[in-house]
Symmetry: C2
Subunit: 227 residues, 2 copies
């Protein structure tokens, strides 16, 4: 058993002795629910960079959702999904990674329709790299300022002229939508989300714990596109 699971289980047992069941629920703070989409040929770091940083917050649950039980990354290793795409799952943060797989998925009407419905029950939606291509094609980003992978910028822009695409931004936060630039930018944007939700001290604690060098300024984009 993991240390934090063990501690959580211990608290439940202790509180359970003292409180009636209806009071028990109120004393246990609900974990932050994070759901991440996976599909064949997703880009490894688009998913696992944010998972690393977000997963070090206290009281958080990260689950993967996909169209089948086992999904293969572009780099080879496979992950197991926890939740089926047959329904939508209300959550605090919904993550949409990018990768080569998005090139065909932008034509997948079933996925785009599900994305629309899933975004509607998500408190915040966070795309990395060409994950924003899927959201844009689904119409989820209409009227929203957003960014994407700068190496695939022209392609993503061509998918929707209703999005206010930003050519120079490590990430763009516009209330419900947090969209990051390519691959590694997702890790920086994830720490931004930690800071937004839990404060700068918590983001810095995780930065140190992971011996990371956080580009904490969304305006500092070394891969900005010149238009």
């Amino acid at each position: 058993m993991k240390r934090r699971d063990f501690l959580a289980a211990g608290s439940v047992a202790l509180v359970g002795v003292m409180l009636a069941p209806q009071l028990l629920a109120a004393t246990q703070e609900k974990p932050l629910q994070i759901l991440a989409l996976v599909f064949d040929d997703y880009e490894t770091l688009d998913l696992h960079g944010p998972v690393e940083m977000l997963g070090h917050m206290k009281n958080v649950q990260i689950k993967l959702v996909g169209a089948k039980s086992i999904i293969r990354s572009y780099q080879g290793p496979r992950v197991v999904t926890d939740v089926s795409m047959e329904q939508v799952t209300p959550c605090d943060l919904f993550i949409v990674p990018g990768g080569l797989g998005t090139r065909s998925l932008v034509e997948d009407a079933t996925l785009l329709s599900w994305l629309n419905a899933q975004a509607a029950v998500s408190n915040k939606v966070f795309s990395i790299c060409t994950g924003s291509a899927l959201l844009a094609k689904a119409g989820v980003l209409d009227g929203v300022s957003a960014t994407t992978n700068k190496m695939a910028y022209q392609w993503v822009m061509s998918l929707s002229n209703k999005v206010h695409w930003q050519p120079s931004a490590r990430w763009v936060d516009e209330g419900k939508f947090l969209t990051s630039s390519g691959v590694s930018a997702g890790t920086d944007a994830a720490l931004f989300y930690v800071r937004q939700l839990r404060g700068d001290d918590e983001a810095r604690r995780i930065e140190r714990l992971t011996e990371y060098h956080w580009n904490d300024d969304s305006a500092k984009d070394p891969y900005a596109v010149e238009i």
Copy 2:
């Protein structure tokens, strides 16, 4: 089918028409074989940072090896193993990530014995974070200069006094053994391995492709421990 698989399959078909089978094998360069150990509570980025960078090299196969078919990371998401630990698997690069799971695994005699045998059939061994704790306890790093997670430095040092532990190094390369500092340092060390194997242009291509900011100097260690 992935684009590179498709291209590879196309080449095989084309060459197959023209050459006898015994010549065919010689014309197909064997992919670089990378094997990565996984165990419950491995640290997500220790594995997936290097997988991201190494997986963008041409003609490479990355496989996961573990004691069971499904392995859960410390952050929650699960991966599927490709290779069983019932035997050893000769490979070009053997990756050993760290994480909370190493705290109990340093006492697992079966794993330590397997690690010793697996290291012997690996051309190079690459540990990230407290992955070096496992290698040190297995005796694999005896007489070798190595580093580890700087947040867990005292614990790892206490496991073996036969290793020449380096308190200030983003990574240490000593021929057969490449050991990196904590979590994110593995991504930087992976690009070092790309440069060592395939040249600086290839490492820079992957750095740009992933919009990464590579700390390419092993002597630049912002988390160095003062002894």
